[in-house]
Symmetry: C2
Subunit: 328 residues, 2 copies
């Protein structure tokens, strides 16, 4: 029996490895979902085709009796939400200034909104997760890179042209290593999962004493943040040192955000949110060293609550807000 | 003949060297002013007495027929605007957690508002200066230290407990020199007037070839940012190098602010605003290296317009806003 939902929207989380599409109701309820591989290496056309297929599959599963009100998509890139342009996602090869909004609008006939995935996740946590009722907070997602979303006065802060919140590209090392963004010394080059993995690989290749290579089955390329985490829990000295260094860089960035925003809450999501005890708790404490005591005391650190659904739920919230604004 | 102004407020800018008080009308007009030395070294009581004397003098000069509606004071310190507490101004010795709001309220019988001086200057520029009509911008004041004020959606962003905007205490050197705030490697330790002066003195003491000592009349302690600026204009190699290094650190901080806020405008005030051609213009250009091109392109750099009156005019605007909010 088809479900009648006047106020359903389609929400898509386009990631470097997976596409997650959903039909979502006005209360944030997920009515139907579709998950499939992005096939990022096959280029823009194939990825776009996969997005459309995923959207269709979710809509069919949802058995809607009415056309969805609009479509929202979040992307792993800075994006101009007004113009619907995706600038340069580092993990979607070939994507440069893609007018994804127009493309999707044309293909689906639906009004389409494009946004950054960390901004979407921040909104998701604000409406449905760790930040319910919070007025001023910063969401930080730490995995391969570091993304951010800023909530001010209970709303997503998008900046002048929709690009705000790129906290992962604060420079924290003035003579630092180059970053994919074109700058160098960026926070995500020193405190992300890929940063710690790169340092571990370099140390292993340099012959440092550690169990990491053994844990990786002898294949240095298999060393990643999770493996380093596991090794540290087993007492591996190198792994523990790398995690301590990572925690210090995390603390510097958190301290900067505390001094700049005096937030009520910093919410941490992404793969690193799983490494709480070993990595994040020390980083949270250490942030006191890099921020005003009064501002540090005003802030609470919290782990994100929504996990893999934060992007689609936040994107849906954004679309519902935009639709409401248009009507007013 | 006494002027009848129903909506006049008293506005005070308490600085490390001077106290500027004014009676200001609802349109931001300065009706009367009083300027006198802070006498900071004589401690809290004398400074407080000087503030009261300055306020009285300004009120007498204004020849008001009605009692002023309220009093606002901006201070060179993080301050809790709700509680009226001044935490720890680095250039007012002896001031630690001073309940200035209550003290002034008791002494004057006027409702009193306390705020950070850079926040006040940001509001001043928003209402009367370089940022009229701008929705999202960051004000940065660069002199002895670096302060900041954040305007979001046409309003001052104060954060959860009124401490937001401390951009001068972003850590930009993870192994950096200690800062008076308790942290280390802060932006203001690398890009402020006192930072460049310290580097110049160290270089002179180390015997580096330069005209700086001669320009300072042989007294190394007289070397300051203005002198370095003058030497650079005369072609002094060391002065030019120091300014280039300072510009690079300024650019890093500006780039961070661009990536975080995607502002429409960054406004630069303070003593450094006078060193535009030699120092700021290169720093503005160089910020492109440390920010996303799209966000960099969306931002305009502007010099502050209000000069020494930005604090009192911004504080007055804040007080009028707060009074209006209370009435609604």
């Amino acid at each position: 029996m088809p479900i009648k939902r006047e106020q359903a929207v389609i929400s898509v989380d386009l990631g470097g490895s997976k596409i997650l599409s959903a039909v979502i109701g006005a209360q944030g309820t997920i009515i139907a979902r579709d998950l499939r591989p992005t096939e990022a290496r096959r280029g823009v056309e194939v990825v776009f085709r996969n997005v459309l297929d995923s959207v269709s599959a979710a809509v069919i599963k949802a058995e809607l009796s009415l056309k969805p009100a609009a479509l929202g998509i979040c992307v792993p890139s800075i994006a101009n939400s007004n113009a619907g342009i995706v600038y340069h996602p580092s993990n979607l090869p070939g994507w440069e200034n893609v007018p994804l909004g127009n493309m999707l609008q044309k293909a689906t006939g639906l009004k389409t909104f494009v946004m950054n995935d960390a901004n979407a996740a921040a909104l998701g946590e604000l409406y449905f997760g760790a930040a319910i009722g919070i007025r001023n907070c910063v969401y930080v997602t730490i995995s391969t890179g570091i993304g951010g979303g800023i909530i001010i006065d209970g709303k997503l802060y998008e900046g002048h042209t929709g690009l705000a919140g790129e906290v992962g590209h604060m420079v924290v090392e003035p003579h630092g290593i180059p970053c994919g963004c074109g700058s160098s010394g960026c926070w995500e080059r020193y405190a992300s999962g890929s940063a710690i993995a790169l340092k571990a690989k370099t140390a292993v290749n340099a012959g440092k004493k550690t169990n990491l290579l053994k844990l990786a089955g002898g294949n240095v390329e298999k060393i990643d943040a999770n493996l380093i985490h596991a090794a540290a829990l087993q007492g591996d000295k190198l792994a523990k040192e790398l995690i301590a260094e990572s925690a210090r860089y995390l603390a510097i960035g958190f301290g900067n955000l505390i001094n700049i925003f005096n937030p009520q809450m910093i919410i941490v999501g992404g793969g690193y949110a799983r490494m709480g005890k070993v990595l994040l708790q020390p980083a949270f404490k250490l942030a006191a060293r890099y921020s005003f005591p009064e501002a540090f005391a005003a802030n609470r650190f919290r782990l994100a609550k929504l996990g893999g659904n934060s992007g689609i739920r936040g994107t849906a919230a954004y679309v519902f807000n935009e639709l409401a604004d248009t009507r007013n």
